[in-house]
Symmetry: C2
Subunit: 75 residues, 2 copies
């Protein structure tokens, strides 16, 4: 899949799996709800600090998040 879409897909999967709305995730990660929406649709790419924030809320190591994204890219 397109590299730009990989992180977004992983993010959405994990977020839904953990039963959070975009709004709740955004709130806890100190990010904007519309930005989460952009990320999930591959219209924005995260910075390292954003990845760290999000991983903290989703309770997965940031490294694992990146690992999943890399795996998606190869599909």
């Amino acid at each position: 899949m397109r590299p730009e879409d990989a992180f977004g897909k992983v993010l959405r999967d994990l977020r839904v799996k953990s039963g959070l709305s975009q709004e709740k995730l955004a709130l806890e990660a100190n990010l904007d709800r519309t930005f989460i929406s952009l990320l999930e649709r591959g219209l924005r790419q995260p910075s390292l600090v954003t990845i760290l924030e999000i991983s903290k809320i989703l309770k997965v190591p940031a490294a694992h998040l990146v690992e999943l994204a890399e795996a998606e890219m190869k599909k």
Copy 2:
């Protein structure tokens, strides 16, 4: 250590270890030499795509790079 400095330290360690100059790394990763300098000194934070580019050149998985950075932060 300060979170802003973590990635830079990891980057410098791995780059030196693989015998590359900032300039050579920058060239191969399609980045600017001055930007690598800023990254290593913690004056700039990388985006995900930057991390992916760099990891490709340094021949370590991006996830491992992030893992090392996270570990540094806890020191």
